[in-house]
Amino acid sequence: MTEEIRFGVCIYNSERNTVCRFNFNELSDFVAKQSNVKCIWKFSSNKLIAINSLLGDIKTYSLNKLVIAGDFPGEVKGLFVKAAKASGVNLDNVILVDFSVYANLNGQSLSMAKKLLEKVLNGIEIEDSFSLSENPVHPDTLVIGGGIAGIQASLEIANGGNKVYLLEKTGTIGGHMAMFDKTFPTLDCAACILTPKMVEVGQHPNIEILTYSQLKSISGVAGNYQAKIHKKARRVNLSTCIGCGTCAEKCPRKAPSEFDASTTLRKAIYIPFPQAVPNKYLIDADHCTYVESGKCRVCEKVCPVPDCINLDEKDTEIEITIGNIVVATGFKIFDAAKAEQFGYGKLPNVLTSLEFERLINAAGPTGGNITFRTQDKKDNWVFEQGAGEPESIAIIHCVGSRDENFNKYCSKVCCMYSLKLAHLVKEKLPKASVFEYFIDMRAFGKGYEEFYERIKEEGVHIIRGRTATIKDNKGKLLLRSEDILSEKLIEQEVDMVVLSVGLEPREDAKKLAEMLNLNITLDGWFTERNYIFDPVNTNIGGIAIAGVCQGPKDIPDTVAQASAAAARVLQSIINKKVKVGLKNISHEELKLVKD
């Protein structure tokens, strides 16, 4: 005689709110309707159930299976294991159901949670439900985002002998890494290690780079997606442009350079940076005189190649079929002007770390000399060579990170890149005093703590305490903060301030998530299927994520994750099967289920 199955279900609300928000009451009503559920506990992380009452319930209702369902159910597993041991319930019968994977855009993934619970309560193991069916797979792959993550994933897949479409929003691949001067902790020149990879991508027979393009829509099922791609008009023929630069020389219009973090100006017809891939010019329609007024055509006239520039080129759309998608869209930096106490945007010599990276870069606006921001003849604030060097620089950590007013999370990379910037300042201006203001120094990882020690030995003043205000004091900047360790108020005058801004999800990440049906956390990062054991797959079959779009991480981690994502893709191509999500249904259907 088989024993009757009697479930005790715990609905656990971790109340972290970072991953998902459920209507837990509705969920418990649903669970209560299931026939073999005998007992339901509802509790949250700040109001746990006492073990004695748990034991009492197990005894009273003679429960033999305990289910913990919720976001981060592992947090209370210990309690249930203890109770199970004490009351003789087999430990295999303590089942975790993690909802965090099913966090939805608007926090309403109730139906998914219900489905998951229904399966568990009917005796189906959840891990099985993911691999219930497998789709045949198209061998081509779409990689969204041409930063280091996208480059790495593309190379891995292409080197495995498969076709890759590398989609990039801007005119060149390279992403943020191309803008950096050095990488920590090895102090490699970022461009020197990245550009060979970019060139490799550019020349790879299996990789088709789609620059200046964005994903418009997607349809199909896992293993066989049809993607519509919107290609913005470059107005310069990619195949005939020889990159001579005559057009840019004569072009009358200027615009802030995206690559130089707006510290310099570029022309309306431009090449993002000298090592761009593809190394071809493009026209920025938002700043082009011809596009605006219908007159000009200077570039067309001076171009030595006939019919290379087509000022009237229209945007086009192409459709590709792929089996797998790797999302590697990266991040944007925190808008430092939002943190008003630091005066960014008002005080000219308060810079973001990205601006400072460009300033300190040998290919940057001043050829690598650290100078003041000064006013040119037209009263624009610019960096010019010979403008005078700062004698003291302060670097402020955690700008826009670990701050409930902006982003609660730690951006993970700022401590280390701040230390790196301090080192670079010391290298270029040995006499300058450098101050670092931090809250907690997060130098985790191989060689990082040693790097921190090294920077300390270089004579950088590292102060524990968040800078509260920056005020203009006759051209100098007055920083006010508390030195926590000595419990003293510090008022320090410096010439220049660098704000170590945190990382944020891109503005269009939400839109992309909606299009691909991915889950995102409340912070806006894409959600992986399992934080620990499946950090690259998503809840949607055939879509993997890599790089900072999944959460802040540094370059080594990004590269590792991109390779892992590529491995998952290659695995599915080799097996000719792709594991699908909760149910073998098409995207359109899935959307209906989730709503």
Partner: protein, 398 residues
């Protein structure tokens, strides 16, 4: 020096207002943003640390919370939403209860029912005392004109109780007033002595040079009158509102308690008389503050008003009722309504007396004494630090 960690301190402090004592991660933002921060007096992080660590003795010797006027700048920019300004407010409540030897302060702050029962008992006692011992004449309704001064048309407020002439009536009220003032003063003085013991005597890290007790004494009056530190805060409106309230209250208190025979007279002065002008100023000051604070506490837009402890509301309600009844007495008197005047007069006292008995020695208003003394004591400590510093320099040189 060793300190004992009180593991229950945070739980105890929760009853005084601020609910979350664990948010702070000690970045020092609040200290640096505060316009009042000076070395050795670091707002408010140091106090939060002491609370988090459960250092009750150290907290008791800490003067910082009294030096804060809650402008809210720290709370606005706090990266943890820990609301340091509110924590300082909570610590002020806590310290009031630490200084108070009767233990009533703690009861009033942590239990609404204690506070309300006390007020009700006092209210009923005063109404009953007037009803039994100072009942107005029976013909106050039927023969109202008898109690109205023929020339001014105002109510003869001191002549409504049969068998007592105006002088005797005022004398009785004055004795009551002075008794109340004596009780309040003795409680406050004894508590300030305790404050002195906790913050100066018991704090072994400082030894105050004797002369500074005299050289810094002017701080007491200066701070009491003008709150110079408050005016350092960025938002000057707060200082103005507080100044209006404070000056209005002091004027009213002086006039009612100290100068009652001159104030509560039968004669109705012309509007430009100095007594009436002062009275109007004080009433305006009180009303302005009450309305401003009530609107602020309902709207909760300003950080200062975001969280309201039960004692904050009770204070505003009691003060509001006192002020409104005071205004009504004034108008009923001028309007020649003896019965209404007397009833409101009794109600006015029945609200005023419990308010003063609770608020001044045990609750929110005790800061009128603790704040100036805290500034004074902090100057004493500063003088001690200065002496220590010069001594250590001297010994180095030697």
């Amino acid at each position: 020096m060793r300190y004992r960690v009180d593991a229950n301190l945070k739980t105890e402090l929760k009853k005084f207002g601020s609910k979350d004592w664990n948010e702070c991660f000690h970045c020092g933002n609040c200290t640096a943003v505060c316009p009042l921060t000076e070395n050795n007096f670091l707002f408010p992080r140091k106090s939060i640390r002491q609370a988090q660590m459960g250092l009750k003795n150290k907290l008791a010797s800490n003067l910082d919370p009294w030096l804060c006027y809650f402008c809210g700048d720290c709370s606005k920019t706090c990266p943890r939403n820990a609301n340091p300004g509110e924590i300082m407010m909570t610590l002020r409540r806590f310290m009031t209860s630490v200084y108070d030897w009767t233990g009533l302060s703690k009861k009033f702050y942590t239990s609404k029912s204690w506070e309300i029962i006390f007020i009700m008992v006092m209210f009923i006692a005063i109404v009953a005392a007037f009803g039994v011992f100072l009942a107005p004449a029976r013909d106050i309704f039927s023969n109202a004109s008898k109690y109205i001064a023929p020339e001014s048309g105002g109510v003869l407020i001191n002549s409504l109780v049969p068998g007592l002439n105006g002088h005797q009536f005022v004398k009785i009220i004055e004795i009551g007033d002075l008794t109340m003032a004596a009780i309040v003063a003795s409680l406050l003085i004894s508590n300030i002595l305790r404050m002195f013991y906790f913050t100066i005597i018991k704090d072994k890290s400082v030894s105050v040079p004797f002369y500074s007790y005299f050289t810094e004494a002017w701080q007491l009056l200066f701070n009491f009158i003008s709150q110079p530190k408050f005016s350092k805060c960025d938002n000057k409106q707060y200082w103005l509102g507080h100044f209006l309230l404070m000056s209005g209250y002091v004027i009213m208190f002086t006039v009612i308690v100290g100068l009652l025979p001159k104030f509560q007279v039968e004669e109705i002065f012309p509007w430009y008389n100095w007594q009436r002008i002062l009275g109007y100023y004080a009433t305006f000051g009180l009303l302005f503050f009450i309305v401003y604070s009530i609107i602020g506490r309902i709207k909760k837009k300003q950080i200062k008003f975001k969280f309201s402890h039960a004692s904050d509301w009770l204070f505003l309600i009691m003060l509001g009722l006192t002020t409104i009844t005071g205004i009504l007495i004034h108008f009923f008197r001028i309007g020649g309504l003896p019965a209404a005047t007397y009833i409101i007069y009794v109600l006015h006292l029945a609200v005023l007396v419990p308010m003063i008995l609770i608020e001044v020695p045990f609750s929110k208003w005790s800061h009128l004494a603790y704040r100036p003394f805290a500034v004074y004591f902090s100057k004493l400590k500063k003088a001690a630090y200065k002496k220590q510093a010069s001594l250590s320099e001297f010994s180095k040189a030697a």
